[in-house]
Symmetry: C2
């Protein structure tokens, strides 16, 4: 009846980069797993902070005034309204935490925009 959510099992269901899969909900917030590799687009989220937790590998987030490298066992909170561009040289497995209904490309749109609300 009570079952834990296993990240490895969930990641096995993801076969595209930059496509978040929701694995859990807490109040009106969602926990999403994402495989990232290569360049994402510059974007921002006007209404919410966004949490990145790296579970495997490492990624960078570029800002207009610098960048942060986030490795496995680390996290970072992108403040609301701050332009950022995620990047990963090699495939990296991450968890994103943010309110339900947030679009991955924020204000930017474009071809990397993923469908909202997909549970895995």
């Amino acid at each position: 009846m009570h079952e834990s959510i296993n990240f490895s099992e969930k990641f096995a269901k993801i076969n595209q980069h930059w496509t978040p899969g929701i694995v859990a909900e807490m109040n009106d917030y969602q926990f999403k797993l994402v495989k990232v590799q290569g360049d994402f687009v510059w974007h921002s989220h006007e209404d919410t902070d966004e949490v990145f937790i790296v579970l495997e590998g490492e990624m960078d987030i570029e800002f207009r005034d610098g960048k942060v490298t986030i490795k496995s066992g680390e996290m970072y909170v992108v403040p609301k309204g701050v332009e950022h561009k995620p990047f990963a040289e090699n495939e990296c497995k991450i968890m994103i935490v943010e309110p339900g209904g947030v679009t991955n490309t924020g204000d930017a749109g474009g071809e990397l925009t993923a469908e909202d609300g997909v549970w895995i």
Copy 2:
């Protein structure tokens, strides 16, 4: 200027079980690291769900109608208002996500109640 939050470095600052240390804030939610071992108290949080993510080791959460085991690389969301009792046979390192201002022992109180709002 932009710095990631490293869980190992933060855990090195924690020297008591069941005492959460805040490491990040997202909107009005907080991310807390906790070292747990032994029995916690039965309690519930009337106003919020509570997320447990196990980073190292394993723990159980007992419910009145069963229990869940959560291992490293797994998570579980305790729904608001549901009585639960965390337990870990061996020391286990976890992350808790919940709104700021939530007390660890919820409605139960007692000697394991930790000070709110402690950043590490």
